[in-house]
């Protein structure tokens, strides 16, 4: 049922390379997003990026520049305005501020903004060869930043107090992390779309958290899940012609539901065994 074109056509090769890079990157970033409980920021930044992409389409420049500028700008705004207790309000305000600008850009674009809608829903054919190079470059930069931040960020995510007591600049660290997320979304958005970027970021990690408790194993598992999700989605999107974001979210949610079911039965089993021993 599959024709060979799925592996040989040049735009599909770009899609495979771009998708794989994006899957690897989002698995690692998603790990921190999940343990820090910052799903909302992970949802807001891609949409901020989308507004920038729409602006780039209006000005007729490379969408990647607009995406990166707005996503990183949004991250800095959340970091700058955010205080500890009302972070979600700040995130919501940043989201609507950038999206309001996005509405303006879309409204001002004279032609039907196909490019902008591709950014919203994702398009596998949308990755050009230049973009593959840019994606690989930004991906590697993000991974290096993450490796550099890894230990202090893990500490600050698990216990803010201990990190502060040890003299880790927690706030600066948080802003740096948000900037890395912003930069990463700039390359994830063209592949899976602004609306669903978020589901690739949290889906695999939310799933692996239910299956294992050690951080190393969880990361490896979510890397695997993320790759499988993206690959399946690329194949399905190629066959059906539907937006790839739909398949990413459905695969992610299905795996999450399975993991929760497995977790539920495991806990039930343990309880049963404990009950028998007590008797």
């Amino acid at each position: 049922m599959l024709d060979a074109g799925i592996f040989t056509q040049s735009f599909m090769i770009h899609a495979w390379i771009g998708g794989t890079i994006v899957a690897i990157l989002s698995a690692f970033i998603g790990f921190f997003v999940v343990i820090r409980g910052s799903s909302f920021a992970a949802h807001a930044l891609p949409q901020a990026g989308f507004a920038g992409g729409a602006g780039a389409v209006l000005l007729n420049i490379n969408p990647l520049c607009g995406l990166a500028a707005f996503a990183v700008g949004g991250a800095l705004l959340i970091g700058y305005l955010g205080d500890k207790e009302r972070n979600d309000v700040i995130t919501a305000l940043t989201l609507v501020a950038t999206l309001g600008a996005g509405a303006l850009f879309l409204g001002l674009t004279n032609k039907y903004a196909t490019g902008a809608y591709a950014l919203l829903f994702g398009q596998i054919v949308g990755v050009s060869s230049d973009q593959v190079v840019a994606t690989a470059f930004i991906g590697i930069v993000c991974l290096l930043c993450l490796a550099f931040l890894y230990r202090p960020l893990l500490l600050a995510s698990v216990s803010r107090e201990i990190a502060e007591a040890r003299g880790v600049p927690v706030r600066l660290l948080e802003i740096c992390f948000l900037v890395v997320v912003g930069l990463a979304t700039a390359i994830i958005v063209p592949v899976v779309g602004a609306l669903l970027c978020f589901s690739l970021l949290i889906g695999p990690n939310a799933t692996s958290v239910y299956l294992t408790s050690s951080p190393g194993k969880a990361m490896a598992l979510s890397l695997l899940i993320s790759l499988v999700t993206v690959w399946i989605s690329i194949v399905l999107a190629y066959i059906s012609g539907w937006p790839i974001g739909f398949f990413v979210s459905m695969t992610g949610a299905l795996l999450y539901a399975c993991a929760r079911a497995v977790h539920y039965f495991r806990v039930k089993n343990i309880r049963l065994k404990a009950g028998i021993i007590q008797c």
Binding site: D88, V96, L120
Partner: protein, 296 residues
């Protein structure tokens, strides 16, 4: 004076029934959003509020495909998803993830149906309409439905005002007093989804959060009395929508494309401006709030 007014309100502003409908609807919805928004902010449910709007967007996309009023799509999916999120996660952290996963399913469905809309109904503007709103295109028959819905929401809010306030501020105290916290939360989230659906209907699924959170966040920074904060928040929201409509009407002659700037943009920009002004006011030395903060 008349020349100035003419400059402010472009000719034909007050004769246009669509503009009048927009003013009425915008005012009503902004006011109720402002009141409910204060509860949302003190309960820390901004993410849920935003998520409900996106679920509603999926419903609206399906409604366009089926050729029915998008308001029903927003409402149906909004209420359904709100109940699911409320029942799925109990603890705060799980709540975040549960909301996230359900949200990503909704967004997936939304993007699929928006894609199908543009391909099968020939309405290329459907995504723009659902995601970014179309306050001037609302049918007069829908106006009365929205007003009735808002009235019902207001009545329920007034009825459960005291227990809801107690649950929002201190759930443990409410539980010891015998308030059914679970039921009140469930009821509140259903009301929230009504309000969000109306907001999405007028300024778009992606931007309804602006009406919900923006004025409330600003109002809470102005006063610490919650009742007063709700009043301020309703006033700020209404002002933002009305000024936004006036500006959007004026902007039909603005460059670069002479067909008007989107209302949603003006509303978002004004709300952000209000919020930043309240923050600025707090930073000024000698401002009342600063002193109150120091005393407490």
């Amino acid at each position: 004076m008349i020349r100035f007014l003419n400059l402010l309100f472009a000719p034909g502003f007050f004769q246009n029934t669509q503009v009048m409908n927009a003013l009425l609807l915008g005012g009503v919805v902004a006011a109720i959003s402002g009141v409910v928004g204060v509860f949302v902010v003190i309960r820390g449910q901004s993410f849920v509020g935003h998520a409900i709007a996106d679920f509603g967007g999926a419903g609206a996309a399906i409604a366009v495909l089926m050729g029915i009023n998008t308001l029903w799509g927003f409402l149906g999916f909004g209420v359904l998803s709100a109940a699911v999120v409320e029942l799925m996660g109990d603890r705060a952290r799980e709540h975040d993830l549960a909301t996230g996963i359900v949200l990503s399913v909704a967004l997936g469905v939304e993007s699929l149906f928006l894609y199908l809309d543009t391909h099968f109904t020939g309405q290329a503007g459907a995504p723009m309409m659902i995601l970014f709103g179309s306050i001037f295109l609302i049918k007069p028959s829908t106006v009365s439905i929205v007003v009735a819905l808002t009235a019902a929401t207001t009545v329920i809010i007034i009825t459960i005002y005291r227990p809801l306030l107690l649950c929002s501020i201190d759930p443990d105290l409410a539980r010891t007093r015998g308030v059914p916290v679970r039921i009140v939360s469930l009821l509140f989230i259903v009301l929230l989804s009504f309000v969000v659906a109306e907001g999405s209907f007028i300024i778009g699924a992606l931007l309804s959060t602006a009406l919900l959170i923006g004025p409330a966040a600003a109002a809470i920074r102005i006063t610490h009395k919650l009742g007063l904060a709700m009043l301020y928040s309703a006033v700020l929201g209404t002002l933002a929508v009305w000024i936004g409509i006036v500006l959007a009407y004026d902007s039909f002659l603005w460059p670069p494309v002479r067909r008007g700037w989107p209302v949603s943009f003006f509303v978002c920009a004004l709300i952000l401006l209000f919020y930043l002004l309240t923050r600025l006011r707090e930073k000024l030395p000698g401002s009342g709030i600063m002193m109150v903060r120091r005393v407490t």
